[in-house]
């Protein structure tokens, strides 16, 4: 993956220029207030707290909104095993302005899912689901036409596939048949063993990323830090980007979707990394 790859997919400049101009993003601006003349049908919760703080309890870090301790939707105490993750979640809560927009709080949602486990899954089920997904992995499922897209898929997806095959010493392959690729049992077994080394929390994050990117290969590539979030999202949306280049970009749909996918994927990746790290500093022995 090189910068050239990204440059070759540069889109036409947005008609509205840079939307990140200060005037439009200042949350207290008059402009924003007048735009909010249509509120959603469901009652929105207002921000009811001033301060967000952390405390360390047994089992991990807890978050308090003013004096009240945060709980999961299932009623459990919200405890996060990793300090950085707790800080990032606290930042999400602190970032809420007048109303609480839960759909923007991806890390909090992931923590809630891991804590409550509403679908009662265990590690084995999650691993099996991920391996099943490999059979319809975006990167392995190729088109026959148009020729331009076939070439683009080969050019952009083959390197990632080869990287994955080398890294894990497996065969995956791609296919343009409607049945998709044949994933050998040995490959699945290798991945099963690898995924078993992940904790339940990390697997929750990984499952989320796979669902967002629609690809196990891209997810693993990003989790293994071979791809950045932006690269993984671009590769996931390759066909869409190809069509955009032909037919033009609609900011309110294409960009909207892309940034949402980036945010969710980034949250998932961060979640996996923070719940699988053990931050130990190994001291190198100084030789006399």
């Amino acid at each position: 993956m090189t910068a050239a790859m990204l440059k070759s997919l540069v889109r036409l400049q947005s008609h509205f220029g840079n939307i990140l101009s200060p005037g439009q993003l200042c949350p207290r601006s008059q402009q924003l207030r007048t735009a909010l003349n249509y509120s959603s049908a469901t009652a929105e919760r207002k921000r009811f707290y001033q301060d967000v703080s952390l405390s360390q309890g047994e089992g991990g870090y807890e978050i308090s909104l003013d004096q009240r301790k945060l709980k999961t939707p299932g009623g459990k105490l919200f405890i996060v095993p990793n300090e950085a993750l707790a800080i990032a979640v606290a930042t999400e809560w602190d970032a809420q302005k007048d109303t609480l927009k839960f759909y923007t709080m991806h890390l909090s949602t992931l923590c809630n899912t891991a804590l409550d486990n509403p679908t009662q899954r265990n590690k084995e089920q999650m691993i099996s689901a991920a391996l099943k997904f490999l059979e319809t992995d975006t990167v392995c499922y190729r088109v026959d036409e148009p020729h331009g897209l076939v070439e683009l898929q080969k050019k952009e997806w083959d390197p990632v596939l080869h990287w994955m095959e080398n890294r894990y010493n497996v065969t995956i392959g791609s296919s343009s048949s409607i049945l998709g690729p044949e994933i050998p049992e040995a490959t699945k077994e290798t991945f099963r063993q690898h995924l078993n080394s992940y904790s339940f929390w990390s697997l929750t994050g990984l499952e989320y990323v796979i669902t967002q990117l629609k690809s196990v290969v891209l997810s693993m590539g990003m989790i293994d830090r071979h791809l950045t979030v932006e690269q993984a999202v671009l590769l996931s949306r390759l066909e869409e980007e190809y069509q955009i280049q032909h037919w033009g970009n609609v900011e309110s749909a294409h960009d909207y979707d892309m940034y949402e996918l980036r945010a969710r994927t980034a949250a998932g990746a961060l979640f996996v990394h923070l719940t699988s790290e053990s931050l130990t500093v190994k001291r190198k022995l100084m030789q006399n």
Partner: protein
């Protein structure tokens, strides 16, 4: 793997996002202290030229910057396009950069 942009740029980017979240007191927030701490710690973890821990930290910082920046951009796009309810034909057209056609001589069926 593509070369990631320098840690300094990423750090600045994250601080910009934190400022957008917290306002002028951003340098007293939890995230600010943690992020600055991490960047200072990871500047020179080992004497090696290629340091895995440093690369990992670099990638993670990019990921967090992507999270913050994309969330903010997505929210801005949401407010720009998906918050207004019904709007006039002229407004809807201007959303995708078009204008309504004009016919200077009138449309024929107007008096």
């Amino acid at each position: 793997m593509a070369a990631l942009s320098s840690p300094l740029r990423v750090c600045r980017g994250i601080l910009k996002e934190l400022r957008a979240i917290h306002g002028p007191t951003y340098n007293r927030s939890l995230a600010y202290n943690y992020v600055m701490d991490q960047f200072r710690k990871n500047k020179q973890v080992t004497a090696e030229r290629y340091c895995r821990a440093q690369d990992e930290a670099n990638h993670d910082s990019h990921t967090y910057l992507c999270l913050l920046a994309s969330s903010r951009t997505h929210q801005a796009l949401h407010n720009l396009y998906h918050v207004k309810g019904e709007c006039s034909t002229a407004q809807a057209a201007s959303m995708v950069g078009l204008r309504l056609p004009t016919q200077p001589g009138g449309k024929g069926w107007e008096n």
